[in-house]
Symmetry: C2
Subunit: 72 residues, 2 copies
């Protein structure tokens, strides 16, 4: 991960926070200077470390929205 550069373009939402202060966030992130993608991931306080996560396209998010709206 040493060479991985990223820039958080926009924090869309902070979904939750763990007792140790890690936050589960939906962000718009540019990896290595490429076009930004949506990214759902845990972050340590102050963004000092990142947890595992998934990148998502706008289409993924639209699909997910439909699914979540049908879930309850």
């Amino acid at each position: 991960m040493a060479e991985l550069k990223y820039e958080i373009i926009k924090t869309v939402a902070v979904l939750s926070e763990s007792p140790k202060g890690w936050t589960k966030e939906l962000n718009l992130v540019s990896w290595n200077g490429r076009d930004p993608k949506y990214d759902l991931r845990d972050w340590a306080p102050g963004k000092e470390k990142m947890g595992k996560g998934v990148t998502l396209t706008k289409e993924d998010l639209n699909h997910l929205k439909t699914v979540l709206n049908e879930m309850n």
Copy 2:
């Protein structure tokens, strides 16, 4: 990861599929026999390998739903 046991209780949705056949899925997964959690992750064809991902509580999903509905 050798000792990690999991059971996919329910596939909620397949959000997308990569050219190599990996699928980005929202599942309800039980890890090591514990109570199932929602899990957003990439999977290799036939579930032979798992990619990185995040676990999500029902509250996370509800929050995410609200956020996605407000995004467009």
